[in-house]
């Protein structure tokens, strides 16, 4: 247990040092930290996002040069989160950058200029969640047929396909005892 405590303390200290660094790198960008189970989360408002990401990548001490993952989270009435998981190969630390998009303006600048890896991730997020990535070089659908542009399957309000559940003849769900 002591070992775990030590590890937890170490993780906290690490998060604190990373946050100091991030805060310094993001001077001029309004960023806000949030602790999480594994990695430190930094919230950046959408209009300053790409500036912040670029600063994080090009900061000499941090150098978040590796984009692990880019995705969206549908918060239903609260709009969407776009989540960037960053990693610094030289420094070996992780950072999660989040930006909250209001439901009436689901658009954010594209990060493809920062990491080329963002290309397909943004295309996927765009077709699945309907978040527009401004300035994306190739905003076609990636996984879905290219003509489907008005349906966003991973949103929470998108219905699951109905599957026929009942088997056997003459069976109806109303017979199921409560």
């Amino acid at each position: 247990m002591t070992q775990d405590d030590a590890a937890a303390q170490d993780a906290e200290a690490l998060a604190a040092t990373i946050w100091t660094q991030v805060d310094r790198a993001l001077s001029g960008v309004s960023a806000r930290p949030e602790p999480s189970v594994r990695d430190l989360i930094v919230h950046i408002p959408p209009d300053e996002l790409v500036r912040g990401l670029r600063a994080l990548k090009h900061d000499a001490a941090l150098a978040f040069d590796y984009l692990r993952c880019l995705t969206c989270v549908d918060n239903e009435d609260d709009g969407m989160d776009v989540v960037y998981h960053l990693y610094s190969i030289a420094g070996r630390y992780n950072l999660t950058v989040k930006t909250q998009l209001p439901p009436d303006n689901l658009a954010v600048d594209s990060a493809t200029g920062v990491w080329r890896a963002a290309d397909w991730y943004e295309r996927e997020a765009q077709e699945m969640f309907g978040v527009r990535f401004r300035g994306h070089p190739d905003p076609r659908n990636l996984l879905m047929p290219e003509e489907i542009t008005d349906s966003f399957p991973l949103r929470k309000d998108h219905p699951l396909a109905e599957i026929e559940v009942l088997q056997g003849e003459g069976v109806a769900y109303s017979e199921e005892p409560a």
Binding site: I163, V165, L166, Q167, G168, V171, E175, E176, P177
Partner: protein, 156 residues
């Protein structure tokens, strides 16, 4: 050239080894007891009735919703003059083998050890011409264990 000769040597060495082919339809490899084919219902040989009480636990836990269960009052219960301790018993049971993904969850959630995965070759060789034929009803699900054809393995 050395690499080419080395490669040729490797293939020639394999040429001398014994083939590893399993001549499948002719000879069936013995299956391990944990093998999971498709779920089956078990038969209580002592009381001559299924173990299943139709409690819907498996139906609710099934990730692909391949099961449909109906329960009824047990006509063989003590209060009815029988010798069973089961107040309720399964009335109808369907499993759609075409949809089942053989995840073993139904076996794990069953409180009565009434369902098990078929661990015989018959369970794997289930090809039919019509998908509807893969929907198994209660007598079909019980038949194997009733006839003593399988030795079920239920994890603890």
């Amino acid at each position: 050239m050395r690499g080419l000769l080395k490669s040729m040597g490797v293939t020639l060495a394999v040429f001398a080894r014994k083939p590893v082919t399993r001549e499948y339809p002719d000879t069936h490899r013995p299956l391990p007891e944990r093998d999971r084919a498709f779920p089956l219902l078990l038969w209580d040989h002592d009381l001559d009735e299924p173990f299943c009480t139709g409690c819907h636990a498996c139906e609710r836990a099934c990730p692909v919703e391949c099961m449909t269960v109906l329960m009824k009052d047990n006509p063989n219960h003590r209060t009815q003059g029988g010798d069973s301790t089961r107040r309720k018993i399964v009335d109808k049971f369907w499993i759609d083998y075409a949809r089942c993904m053989r995840c073993n969850i139904c076996v794990e959630v069953c409180n009565f050890d009434a369902i098990a995965m078929n661990n015989t070759w018959q369970g794997h060789e289930t090809s039919v011409y019509d998908r509807a034929d893969l929907i198994q009803d209660l007598p079909q699900l019980l038949a194997e264990h009733k006839a003593g054809a399988i030795k079920p393995w239920v994890p603890q």
